[in-house]
Symmetry: C2
Subunit: 294 residues, 2 copies
Amino acid sequence: MATNFADRLFGAVEEKNSRVCVGLDPRVSQLPPPILEQYPNAAEAVVAFCRDICAAVAEHAAVVKLQSAYFETLGRSAFSTLWAVVAEAHRAGLPAIVDAKRGDIGPTAEAYAQAFFGGEIAADALTVNPYLGSDGIMPFVDAAEEKGAGVFVLVKTSNPSSGDLQDLRLEGGYHRVYQHVGEEVRLMGAHLRGECGYSAVGAVVGATYPEQLAELRRDLPGVPFLVPGYGAQGAGPEEVVAAFDKDGWGAVVNASRSIIFAYQGGDGEPEQFAQAAGEAAREMKDAINGAIGG
Amino acid sequence: MATNFADRLFGAVEEKNSRVCVGLDPRVSQLPPPILEQYPNAAEAVVAFCRDICAAVAEHAAVVKLQSAYFETLGRSAFSTLWAVVAEAHRAGLPAIVDAKRGDIGPTAEAYAQAFFGGEIAADALTVNPYLGSDGIMPFVDAAEEKGAGVFVLVKTSNPSSGDLQDLRLEGGYHRVYQHVGEEVRLMGAHLRGECGYSAVGAVVGATYPEQLAELRRDLPGVPFLVPGYGAQGAGPEEVVAAFDKDGWGAVVNASRSIIFAYQGGDGEPEQFAQAAGEAAREMKDAINGAIGG
């Protein structure tokens, strides 16, 4: 029986004393010039860049998250590159969440679950979109159970217009769409709690909405949160405190651009991009630990 | 200025007198044995199978739809295979909808739009998930406008549990989530109507819910529908009549398994898989035209 994903995730959090998830969003146009010079092929440049980032942040990050979109811009090389980077993350000892936000009707969701969890190299967790309802989500949950993988269902996303649909108030007046989805996620993952008390089925909840983050933390015990929105999207350590339970568990916080492209800020040198990323990850780790008093 | 997608789509419908979309869902385990014997490499088998299907259905189908999930199960070859099949569809004179149901925060949605509409070989249209709200959809609409491509936003999907989220009734009592999303889709695409009267921004509405299909057709004039659920999912010609306007325009109906794997039914021979698919597409075309009196 594979180890429960939540136990693996929070095992990494404990080992590294870090609640940081580093987002691998390798926009080719933003890659450091020395990488682009050394690897004129964009797909090879992405793999080399992500490999060096993983090595540099491994000490300070619990996990990495690959944003599938930036791989899919590579055309025919999209998935050869994505899976090569998952392998590099594993080589650096980092679990890899693939942020692909998949969701489809039952048999097709099964195919997606096979695609992301069933191969020789597999994702440790996948983000999933709930618009299709339970038969679009359960194939991922079932596959996660079988493989010891994790699922993070979008509940309240970090973007400015996330409220367009997610904040709609439902008949009866009390619940909003995201609250309804959150409760469904809690129920769908209730049978997959690990020894850490958290389920392998989690929720994506943006740090850019700290009130909703606090409310969902209270309402969804046992549901681990993947919290985007830190750094370039505007949230800081004070905003993410609410993601954690009273013991400082239950969430990992993602930052992408502010870590992997840290070399572009201040007096960073392009040659030192990996060191800059490692330093930014360390600072984020310390800032979050400081804010939660950990 | 690129031709409006709706004009291209309904131009193909008119030219072929067909409202059929053939769904390319190439599950490797279901490919005809002769193909698997000739092409031991799964990715090559998928390309050869889809090439032969496209050639066989080109006379009877207005468009094809590639289900990204079945390509993504091919691991590192996922996107080299997907784009090779889009090229094969184009070679057969068929526009290609990529059914990838993407959706993400603004900058990432831009990357997805670039991935699907910006390459040397590009999708003619893409399916998009609305859970993220307008900033997760507008980058696709903007790219579609620029490239003459189309977008089909999920409104009411064909699967059994589509109501879990989509049918939730909103405060005020009248509207449900899918109705709200449908209206947003209409507004987002209002500036992209072609000469045919339909927009390049459409909606996915399942044939398995004929009442909602009729209601949405009435409420969303000018919004083209991509209608899944025909054939293996249970809907027939009578169920899809409601998708069309009074002149028989405004929708294409997708069938996947019942067409591409038609050789598995009745007395079909695996060697004749392409002919069986062509015949099934012709029958579906005639059945829908008969039902709408066209």
